[in-house]
């Protein structure tokens, strides 16, 4: 049985930021990730981030990831890659599987930063090779430098669909069209403008009827929909594509939080079922914290700030960080978080977040 003070599950933006804050506060931190490389989705974000200077705005996501990783290593975080957390057990034990061995990791506090899962969209032919998540496409092109195909239909005009379409063009593929059943574009206008300038049509009020092909995708049939989202007969068109990307939303990957017995709330604006947490990222279970998309789908910049908050709170609860110092840092984190949730894109999420906080029982800082 391996022991540590703070165990963090998931080395994406939230997990890395939590590890940095907690380790810098003097706590012993073990950061576990099932992948061969840390950074989660961050190392696929080759575009420049929004936000303010404090959010590293204007810096590419992959560079932010490298900076965070070196900060974590400098702060003495034990990073265990290729290690799956297959279960969470009473008295804060995690079940780890690595290579061909398994072991338990006992921690005083646990931070779950397990991120999000791509939402599926079922339509005839969706199981054929060539239909894949936008996240899958981004992984293949930006991490493994391999194009899964040449001509892409992207389903979903939110930020993910727009950004991955732009990155497909950078990788040398052609994006035949981006479609979305909604009447408007969900993502930032500037992301849409980049792909429009590059000649990619965005068809709002359209849905995919089918993917077709012999053994893999060769064509896709799309159709205009009416206001209730039903395809309008006679408004179908067939596109010559070999990849259909699905960017129809994300939802928290919260299996471990369910398993631990956390209280959950259903919040559609943040991706569905989310673990209830207070402003300091504590769940309904003492000593168990959450950070990042597992708490509700927002952006990497927000995930990093939530990670910092969770790391500070966990370190404070273990007595590693004097409360006065912790409170000052947490106020800064709160300000940076609020700054990211203002404006027409952030309002709905800010309100939804308030709803979650109202459900959480104020626990204050209790010993983990």
């Amino acid at each position: 049985m391996h022991e540590t003070e703070i165990a963090i599950v998931g080395a994406g933006p939230a997990g890395l930021a939590a590890a940095v804050e907690a380790a810098q506060a003097g706590a012993q931190v073990t950061l576990v990730d099932e992948n061969a490389r840390p950074g989660g989705q961050l190392f696929k974000q080759i575009h420049k981030f929004f936000g303010s200077k404090a959010h590293h705005a204007g810096t590419r996501g992959v560079q932010i990831g490298r900076n965070l990783l070196s900060e974590a290593e400098k702060a003495g975080v034990e990073i265990r890659l290729d290690t799956v957390v297959y279960g969470i057990y009473p008295d804060k034990r995690l079940g780890l599987a690595c290579d061909s061995q398994s072991e338990d990791l006992k921690a005083a506090s646990i931070i779950l930063a397990t991120g999000a899962n791509e939402r599926p969209l079922a339509f005839p032919g969706w199981t054929m090779p060539g239909v894949m998540g936008a996240g899958a496409i981004q992984t293949l092109i930006n991490i493994h430098r391999t194009l899964p195909g040449r001509r892409v239909l992207m389903v979903g005009a939110g930020n993910v669909g727009l950004i991955v379409s732009y990155q497909l063009l950078q990788a040398g593929a052609e994006v035949v069209a981006i479609i979305d059943a909604l009447p408007g574009i969900g993502g930032y206008g500037v992301h849409a403008s980049k792909v429009r300038r590059a000649g990619v049509p965005i068809l709002t009020g359209h849905t995919i009827l089918a993917a077709k092909g012999d053994q893999a995708v060769e064509r896709a049939v799309i159709a205009k929909v009416d206001s209730s989202g039903q395809p309008i007969p006679g408004m179908e068109q067939t596109l010559d594509v070999d990849i259909v990307g699905l960017a129809v939303g994300l939802s928290p990957l919260a299996e471990l939080a369910w398993m631990a017995g956390c209280q959950f709330a259903h919040v559609p604006e943040l991706g569905g079922w989310v673990p209830v947490h207070d402003e300091e990222m504590q769940t309904s279970l003492p000593g168990l914290y959450v950070a990042g998309d597992v708490t509700g789908i927002e952006e990497a910049s927000i995930a990093m700030e939530q990670g910092r908050m969770a790391g500070l709170t966990a370190a404070q609860a273990l007595g590693c960080l004097p409360s006065q110092e912790a409170e000052i840092k947490k106020i800064e984190v709160r300000q940076r978080l609020d700054a990211l949730r203002v404006g027409s894109f952030g309002d709905a999420r800010a309100i939804a977040r308030q709803r979650i906080l109202s459900l959480s029982v104020p626990q204050g800082i209790r010993e983990g």
Partner: protein, 116 residues
Amino acid sequence: MRIEMHPILGEAQWGPKVTLMVDGKAVDAFEGEPIATALLAAGRRVFRHTTKRDEPRGVFCALGRCTDCVMVVDGRPNVRTCVTAARDGMVIETQRGLGHWGTEQILGEKGEQGHA
């Protein structure tokens, strides 16, 4: 198709070249890259056929979660090729349904073959 030059990622630095035996045919790969990307780069998209409908399946999530990309690797079925690193000489077969166990695995002669 490989992305040799990328405006942001720059020039590719591939690992050493290795060879995978896929359904009896040699396929080039770079050591350490996922088996799945080597197959995609070789224009190969069908990795398995399902149990009930014998449907073709391939990469769907590329994150090791959906398990649609599983193949028989060195005699062991249900290996997620999108998160399993390619090694020289790997024997990879299209998986039919639940897949078959290679004799070496059952007798354990090949020894431990962990997969990420």
